[in-house]
Assembly symmetry: C2
Homo-oligomer: 158 residues x 2
């Protein structure tokens, strides 16, 4: 079963991007509240931060976690462009037994820290768009590990 | 009346961030479409790109454009976190007569280029959240110009 996404629980893997009142102040003559610097882009040495949209479609349920990937050169942030819940699978080691699954609210994004193992985007609706802030630049920024057949983590239907 | 937001019309002021099929490709075993590098964060010399949430509340209609601001040191991107339309007011010169108003769809963000005059966030719902990618770092990154009393641009109700 997925855990609810919260800052403390997610801290080993990165940051939660949501409207944390304690990090906010009013701007624009009081008409806008700025939840400030929830994450830094961290594109890494020689890289630059770019903005892209990821349009995800769901894996069949129960979701089988057959592989993980990581980006050794830069952080990667995902922020929903619609208010639908979604899933974040992360792991301290690239092993099925190490996988943790978080259920994010539709108003919560995450930034996965540089080098943290994670599963590609997992959505629950037929189509969900995310703004992604990640690294462009020289070097190989993708590593993948595929689990052996049958040694998969499974996520129960949400 | 606002103009519809489109890439060509907005080009003098910055970039439109939306799901432009021509800039997309499939990733994640075909389950995700990546609309790639729609904008570069461009935090400028000595700055870094940060991620914040802006929670906007509306100005009363008809909206009076009484001032403009600009960020001389870095670009600033706004991407809706909900599918509600919103308004973008930009100007080539800091004068009421130079203001142009664009109506953005709820699935369209913009990046306002470094140094471009614009009005603070203009939303149409009681509360609308945006992911903002802009610059943190040393130096003064805010200039404001206030129009003289009565010399305001007005935006008709949408």
């Amino acid at each position: 079963m997925p855990e609810l996404l919260a800052e403390d629980a997610f801290a080993p893997y990165g940051r939660v991007i949501d409207a944390d009142f304690d990090r906010s102040h009013l701007i624009n003559d009081g008409r806008t509240r700025r939840f400030h610097a929830l994450a830094r882009a961290e594109p890494g040495e020689g890289g630059e931060a770019i903005l892209s949209i990821f349009r995800g479609t769901p894996w069949p349920a129960p979701i089988e976690i057959r592989m993980l990937e990581r980006h050794p050169l830069g952080a990667q942030a995902f922020v929903p462009m619609e208010r639908h819940p979604w899933l974040v699978v992360v792991a301290e080691r690239p092993e099925a037994a190490a996988c943790r699954c978080f259920l994010a609210r539709g108003d919560q994004g995450v930034q996965i820290a540089r080098g943290v193992w994670h599963h590609p985007l997992l959505v629950l609706q037929p189509m969900q768009d995310f703004l992604v802030v990640d690294r462009a630049g020289p070097g190989n920024n993708l590593e993948e590990v595929f689990f052996v057949d049958g040694d998969w983590a499974r996520i129960a239907p949400v």
